[in-house]
Amino acid sequence: MEFNLSTFVFEIINFLILIWILQRLFYKPLLEVIAKRKRFIDQSLSEAKNLKLQAEQQCSLYENRQKLWDQEKQSAITALHRQLEAERKAHLEKLNADLEQERQKANVLLLKQQRELQQQSEKQALLNGAKFAGMLLQQSAGPELEARLFTMLMDNLVTLPEACKLCLTMFGTKKSVPVKITSAYPLPVEMRLQLEQKLDALINSQINFQYHQNNALIAGLRMDIGAWVLNANLQHELIGFTEIGYESD
């Protein structure tokens, strides 16, 4: 445990030199680079904070824009729905109108078809009726029926309308008037005489009587005086039924 002054002094000097060297070579550059890095980190942090702030602002901005877009989109959707509803309503009304029109047309057509069918049925019924009546009358016809029809003809000649009487009077201007009398059965002489007397009373001219027989008349007579025809037979009556059916068309 000796104390040496030279060592003491040398150590003081050595240590001071060591401090100087380390200050120049070690502490100063290291502390500078640490400080520089700290500044860089602080700057980076500051920039990051600024970026974060900007990002938050942008985020807020875009969120607001998103909300506005959503509102606009909702408004557009609502307007579109409203327009679609109006269009749908208009189309529906038009469709209903068209359907109503078509329904009316169909009803009219159906009514027409029904009416035609009814008319056809009526006509067919009349034809059938005439046919059946004709068949029935052919079976039940006979001289008695013809005699009654002759009587009815004679009565009709008495009660002729004035226009018919005037027409028969007009035949008096001619020299000879042909009168064609057609009967379903052979006309007896008595009946012929009654008929000729009656017609002579009505026509002031010479009358040329011609007698014919036609079974198609079924029963009764037909008189052709010039263009004038007087029917008192069943065939004519049955044809009258049929004509009623055609006239109804």
Partner: protein, 221 residues
Amino acid sequence: MENEFVFSIGPVVIATAVITTWGIMLVISVIAWLTTRHLEMLPGKLQTTVEGIVAAIDEAISAVAPEHGRLILPFIATLWLFLIIANLIGLIPGLHSPTRDLSVTSALAILVFFSVHWFGIKTQGLKNYLHHYLSPSPILLPFHIISELTRTLALAIRLFGNIMSLEMAAMLVLLVAGFLAPIPILMLHIIEALVQAYIFGMLALIYVAGAIQSQHLNPPE
């Protein structure tokens, strides 16, 4: 354990401790130069290590003297680095710790003594610095002076005594116990060397910080 002298130039004697100190200075300087040649913003492993050492020392100093940490950092950090290497160098066969020499520890203690006053005066001015010797009462001035001297003496003796006794114990165990037995003692040597370096540096830091902050502790009336 006598001091070994290598050579002398007239009255100036160059001891082994001085040579070892020069060697330590050379090693520290070369390492410092090598590690700080190409400092980069993105540090490698070596740069991270040295930056970690300096940052740890800076943090320890800032914890005690937050306002003047950068001012006293070179002195305190150099003390720590030098003492760690100086205390541990005795583990290398053929070499001895310079801190087992009372002249070396005394020089370091004297440096601490003067640096305390230097940093105190530099930060507060001479008048303000000297004022704290008279506070809280001028009667305490002799005690302050005695305290300054004794703590400086204690610094020197503590480090010298611990390192010298450590090396002596290690040598005795090595002589008595043979080859493998001293390994725990060598581990103890490492711990003790680190602890003593830490204690010396920390005490120096506290003394310097006390001198710097004496104005705050004892403001003039």
